[in-house]
């Protein structure tokens, strides 16, 4: 292929054992924007996430471990405190890489997420 035929990410799949519980977590707890028509979809900026139950496709459920989807927030410490007050447990202390802050947590099915903010300039 010359140049890229890929023009974007259409959706990010969120494997779930209970899509209603997942939707409540992402939409009600994290405050992400639900899709206007599809109950199982929500948006983060310009990126669509689609909750699906692998069992209904005959696929064994396995959580997403490793993608560490980096959710951009302005203030990781403040966002973490707010989510902790709602009962979300984070994995370890907030990590400072020297260029960004990272706070790791998971959704109710164990899918890896993080709160992220890069404070260093890119150059």
């Amino acid at each position: 292929m010359s140049g890229s035929v890929v023009t974007g990410v259409d959706f990010v799949g969120v494997p779930s054992t209970d899509w209603r519980r997942s939707r409540a977590f992402y939409v009600d707890t994290l405050g992400l924007r639900p899709d206007e028509t599809a109950d199982g979809e929500f948006w983060v900026g310009q990126t669509c996430f689609g909750i699906y139950e692998p069992a209904s496709f005959g696929i064994e459920f396995a959580p997403q471990k490793n993608a560490h989807i980096a959710l951009h927030v302005e203030d990781v410490a403040a966002a973490r405190a707010e989510l902790e007050a709602k009962g979300i447990e984070f994995l370890g202390e907030t990590f400072d890489t020297g260029v960004c802050h990272m706070a790791f947590f998971t959704d109710p099915d164990g899918n890896d997420l993080m709160l992220h903010h890069r404070y260093a300039p890119r150059d």
């Binding site: 974007g8 990410v9 259409d10 799949g13 028509t37 983060v44 403040a78 150059d123």
Partner: protein, 130 residues
Amino acid sequence: MIDVERVDYIRVPVTDMDAANHFYGELLGLRRNPNSPGDDWVEYEVGNVTLVVMTPHTHDYEFAPLPPSTIALRVPDVAAAKASLEAAGLEVAEMWDSGLCRGAGVEDPAGNRILLHHRYAPYPDGSSPR
């Protein structure tokens, strides 16, 4: 409520950076960010999201592949993309048609099952996919 503005990036865990860069950079033709910080952390800009191709074993954790269809890449023509990747020697799964969209799965060299995807149906409000 916390205010999540966007997805900064999504990690794509791999085991062999050379093979992964060939797949994502050359076969898929994704645009590599020249400011990627290291050889074991290469950033590809895919329109609305940054994909970070990286090796967990050099970042203190173990590799595990992403669940199928964690990442659905938009292509204008799934059949053409499938044919092109097959011509490059890759195995691409049978294309399906949901009635709204088409898709075909392909494994990257590390075993992450990526979806080539295109929605052709308009949305319920009559607008078309961008």
